[in-house]
């Protein structure tokens, strides 16, 4: 047998039909659904008189537009249009008989945090969701990617996707990370290196000692932003850490099935002489704590750097950098560590897991915030409960943070958590696009520890100075 990559192996195990031109029907093992990109898909099913082919493989949770303040179980405490979308998901889940975690359920949270937490996401699976950050699940060695609403409808009706295979890219992070450097710094640094279109047409496998050393939470952070590098999906080969994380989760296999699953999962790695269409290698020790300065996730620099001059770029990026710097209200040559911020947002499917909250709390312990507003939005009700049990919630609250309920919140600002025009935010989320966190809002992306450091000083700060 010819050597295969991890992606090749998962792909081959899921092809339900292949046409002469290579167009495949890829079978989908898990379909995650949320309230914003699904109503039109369910409506399409109804209009065509179709049902959901595999309701037991379909899991829904409202997360994108739900408020993160108490009382949200009552639709009257939501904006009217949000309430309509949530009510539509309630009804669709019931009518089509799919698994559902309503806002009143402690297990509710961001779909990409709930999936792994409940053991829906398992190694070797195909996982899709009408959300680009579905790449998160790749941390388990699952082929996971975002789809549009028409494809959501296609998967609901047929449990397959029409796909052509992507190319294979290997991103290797060698050696150890330096103190203060996290998974977020890895994933942002990779995008800084490849650009936001560098991964277009590829599925990325992240590997190397620095990746192996990451916890499952950290691996999810890395894979989460594969999409920001343009890749269809990001993958990390499963290992003992993965199996340990999965074992005992509510929907993980048990008993003899666990043993059978484990035997297959252990074959899920890229063969030594597998073919790679593109390889990128970064030394772990070369990665610094980074922040973004512009309005694209590729606009990333070490915190010790300065705002770049637009002329230092080439081609269309010159104009884009000029526009970004103007939008962000910055000056070329300004030290990044001199940029003052108003708001801190800790949360999102990128950095809303327990380890992220621990890292931020570690920096915040006994300190007070020096910003107008700071909020922590745990990624799920269970993360929230665990953080309360570990005393992290008290650290945040004593520091002056708002302690919210689970949801996507200010990552995309579809709910009331938004920036005002001109307001500047240190955010642990994944996108710094113009207007992403509110019209005219300015976003700097960074790790949870860096966001906590910024909350204390009121400006972008090198977390290493606080360690």
């Amino acid at each position: 047998m010819s050597p295969k990559t991890l992606y090749d192996k998962i792909w081959d195990a899921h092809v339900a039909h292949e046409a002469d031109d290579g167009t495949c029907l890829l079978y989908i093992d898990r379909h995650l659904v949320h309230e914003v990109t699904s109503p039109q898909a369910f409506e399409g099913l109804r209009m065509a008189g179709r049902s959901v082919r595999a309701p037991d493989k379909t899991i829904a949770v409202p997360d994108h537009n739900v408020p993160t303040t108490p009382g949200r179980e009552d639709p009257k405490n939501m904006t009217e249009d949000s309430a309509i979308q949530v009510a539509a998901l309630d009804k669709n889940a019931k009518d089509f008989g799919i698994h559902y975690y309503p806002v009143s359920d402690v297990r509710q949270g961001i779909v990409h945090i709930v999936g792994p937490e409940q053991g829906w996401t398992l190694p070797g699976m195909t996982v899709v969701c009408g959300d680009s950050h579905t790449a998160t699940h790749g941390a388990f060695g699952a082929l996971a990617h975002g789809i549009g609403t028409s494809e959501v409808e296609h998967v609901l009706a047929t449990q397959t996707l029409i796909q052509k295979k992507s190319k294979n890219m290997k991103v290797e992070i060698t050696g150890k990370l330096r103190p203060g450097v996290t998974a977020k710094d890895i994933t942002l640094s990779v995008i800084g290196e490849t650009g936001t279109a560098g991964g277009t047409g590829y599925v990325i496998e992240y590997c190397g000692e620095a990746i192996r050393d990451l916890s499952m939470e950290g691996r999810m952070t890395v894979c989460n932003m594969a999409i920001e590098g343009g890749a269809r999906a990001g993958l990390i080969a499963p290992d003992d850490k993965t199996f340990e994380y999965v074992k005992g989760r509510p929907h993980a296999p048990k008993g003899a099935q666990w043993e059978a699953a484990l035997a297959w999962w252990k074959t899920l790695f890229s063969d030594d002489d597998a073919h790679w269409d593109k390889v990128i290698t970064i030394k772990g020790e070369d990665i610094a704590p980074v922040v973004t300065w512009g309005t694209s996730p590729e606009d990333v620099l070490p915190i010790t750097a300065e705002v770049p001059a637009p002329d230092s770029f080439e081609g269309g990026k010159v104009g884009a950098a000029k526009r970004s710097i103007e939008y962000m209200g910055l000056t070329p040559g300004q030290k990044l560590s001199d940029i003052e911020i108003d708001t801190v947002f800790i949360g999102s499917c990128t950095n809303g897991r327990i380890e992220d909250l621990r890292a931020a709390a570690e920096i915040l312990k006994g300190k007070k915030i020096a910003v107008k507003r700071a909020m922590v939005v745990p990624g799920s009700g269970l993360v929230r409960a665990q953080a309360e049990e570990e005393g992290l919630a008290d650290i945040f609250k004593e520091a002056g943070f708002e302690w919210r309920l689970a949801g996507c919140s200010m990552c995309l600002a579809m709910n009331p958590d938004q920036l005002a025009p001109g307001e500047r935010c240190a955010a642990t989320s994944n996108r710094n696009f113009e207007g992403r966190q509110g019209r005219g809002g300015r976003t700097h992306l960074m790790s949870p520890a860096m966001a906590a450091a910024a909350a204390i000083t009121g400006k972008l700060t090198d977390v290493r100075e606080m360690m």
């Binding site: 339900a16 979308q85 549009g148 029409i162 996108r431």
Partner: protein, 201 residues
């Protein structure tokens, strides 16, 4: 789905790189449960000021581009979110084809589900077409899907590559789900075999 065969129309130049889906349709317009009516909010934050008035400098607000059916754009068009509201808004405005050096994967796929043809061309070709689009409404560009060509207003023609299945569906206005349903037997047998091999799924 609406068929796409051949289109001759006004092309609007948008030379900005990394035009993301948050720019194309900001999140406040995702709270709809319909597919229609989003054209008025296409590029909302670039197109209207805080009071909701049109910003005259924005390309689609200029008289010569108000009826544009083609966009010529910078690299990596449609990056970011998977929101299909982006192609819905473009289509509702009247855009049927977008030309760039590259597109983000999910956006690219979403276009084909909505009768929009995204065209990838090399930088030099996009540069020529961008200049052509800058001529305004007197310069009409032609996109020919059957022959896979884009022709500028002065007759310069460029060929583009396209997946044959995507072309087939777009040119005939075919519904993906209907096509896949015809292969239900393959899905059934795959499912039966997979449930033996991986019963825990």
């Amino acid at each position: 789905m609406e068929k796409f065969e051949k289109l001759t129309g006004i092309a609007a130049p948008m030379p900005l790189v990394n035009i993301d889906t948050d720019m194309i349709i900001p999140k406040q317009f995702l709270k709809t449960i319909k597919r229609s009516g989003l054209g008025v909010n296409l590029f909302d934050e670039m197109r209207y000021d805080d009071a909701g008035n049109e910003i005259p400098d924005f390309v689609l607000n200029k008289p010569q581009y108000r009826d544009a059916e083609i966009l010529v754009a910078g690299d990596n068009f449609g990056c970011g979110s998977s929101r299909e509201h982006a192609p819905w808004a473009l289509k509702d405005f009247g855009i049927r084809s977008i030309i760039s050096t590259s597109f983000a994967d999910i956006f690219y796929n979403n276009c084909f589900k909505n009768g929009i043809l995204p065209i990838v061309l090399p930088q030099e070709a996009v540069d020529v077409l961008m200049k052509d689009a800058e001529k305004g409404s007197n310069a009409r560009m032609t996109v020919d899907l059957e022959n896979q060509t884009v022709t500028s207003s002065d007759g310069e023609s460029f060929s583009f590559e396209l997946d044959s299945f995507k072309k087939h569906c777009l040119i005939n206005g075919l519904d993906d789900i209907g096509l896949t349903m015809e292969k239900a037997a393959s899905i059934d047998s795959f499912e039966a075999q997979a449930s033996q091999a991986r019963p825990w799924v």
